[in-house]
């Protein structure tokens, strides 16, 4: 799960960089970059952090 979380987080960055070549319109780039940011946030909060919360110290009592 850690590896998947890291790959998804990195994927968000790659999507944002790809906006530079996928379109030349400012609006199009804006949408793609925002998508990239959302993907990275999902990788950090939805996958990586979720994995660590599963084994959190406070759940072990």
């Amino acid at each position: 799960m850690i590896l998947i979380g890291l790959l998804v987080t990195l994927l968000g960055f790659v999507i944002s960089v790809l906006s530079l070549t996928l379109t030349s319109s400012v609006g199009g780039r804006l949408v793609i970059v925002l998508l990239g940011i959302a993907v990275s946030l999902f990788g950090i909060m939805g996958l990586l952090n979720k994995h660590y919360l599963k084994n959190a110290i406070w759940k072990k009592g």
């Binding site: 890291l6 944002s16 609006g27 970059v33 990239g36 990275s40 950090i44 952090n49 959190a56 110290i57």
Partner: protein
Amino acid sequence: MKTTKRLLLVLVVTLCCASLGLSQTPAAPAAATPAPAAPASKAITEADLAGAPVPSADARAKGDPDGSLTGTASDVTVSDSKKGISIGDLANQAGQNKIAINFVWTLVTGFLVMFMQAGFAIVETGLVRAKNANHTMMMNFMVYGVGMLAYWLIGFTIQMGGVGAVANLGGTPPLNSEFTITLFGKAFGLFGTHGLFLVHKGTYDVSIMVLFLFQMVFMDTTTTIVTGSCCERWKYAAFIVSTMFLAAFTYPIFANWAWGGGWLANLGANFGLGKGYCDFAGSGVVHSVGGMTALAVAMILGPRIGKFTREGKPNAILAHDIVIVLTGCFILAFGWFGFNPGSTLGASGNGGLRIGSVATNTMLAGMAGSFGAMLYMWLRYGKPDASMSGNGLLAGLVAITAPSGFVNPVASVIIGVFAGVLVCISVEFVDKVLKVDDPVGAISVHGANGLWGVISIGLFADGKSNYGGSWNGVNGSVTGLFYGDNGGQLVAQLIGVATLLGFVFTLSFVFNLLVDWVVGQRVSAKSELQGLDLPEMGALGYPEFELKTQA
């Protein structure tokens, strides 16, 4: 209570109306009287210089109580003493004076930034429990030495080795080698290659020494952010290794992309996105890089024992000395006058006089941040929380760091107030939703507000700044969406945000995961309960105090 809330609401509405009124007030019409014609310029001749009044030796021997005889033509360095002063001598002296002013400015502001280490140290130490005071203080103390060593060895080379000419400091010509790859038909600068040990490839140079000192203290600020989020459970050996990597690689790589001539800075020149990624003094480069790394390490470390109940509800673990916390915030606010105005790298030439505006913007946003945070906490919880007011001040300062050179005072206050509220919401989010333990709120202060500062340029940059006619190699002034830009600048800023979240976070996480596997990031439960002063440092921070053990 209700009366207090009503009074506060009236105050807020009044302030908002005042700021709107101020921002919408049309400028006074220009005076009808024509500007006086400039006097016809006359070339200076060698004869003029020969006739320049110079105090006699007798007059100087009597002393100069009013200062009128000191600093005259006789103080200009001459190349040929027999010939006397020449126009060439005069021009050289003027050039050297300009660079000297800029050297002194950059060095003194760098010294102010260095003093911020003391502010960070006592803010963080005050916010932890007394049983961890020595450990937290030592981490903050040693980031200076450990970080500097790594940065001197290789970090500065990666960051600035290919920056090219820094005109305000006299050129820095040896820093001229950037490693680039070609992507989408454009050159993408990735890292510099000149400057190892500050002697490599001609980098033993006065202007490069000034640049190194200033950039080094910025990097050190980044490393000290992480210690705040990870205190009270971070193994000291792991902290040393993690800090060296951050100073040697993570920070310099992103700093190169933003400030060292790398690909982010060239988004404007290569892809028509405004002036490229702009970050005047480092909301992204310094604070978000620190914030992202702090988040990564805090997630790997896990929360302190007792921070969450078995149901996952957060417990408040109180600061042991709020007096030094707020004193530290004041020291940081003072040091920020070096951080932002110093980032002009000069006070003479190329828009150097903007230092007045940059300093005032910094002051306003910091004030607005503390005000916004205090008001938010007061309205939400019924009391003006001291530590969050301090964090609000820092949040405002973090947020204005990137835009301070490009925005006007009204925008600075808006950016600061938003930052003050954002830090409170973000602290709650990190605590209650993410359940990541951040004892000092560094992820919110530096991470979240660093990103806000980066984005705010794309919105609020007013197009009035002029630092030599261009920025990042694109002619014109940095302009945001609210001041007529087509959104290209905002996209460039958001690509910077995506890089911080997607690349910097990942790089920091992977390296610190390796450290966790090899060295182990977290202390034992026994050490944590005892307090880290004795098990990790061998001495208590307060040996004469009787400390209560918190299970």
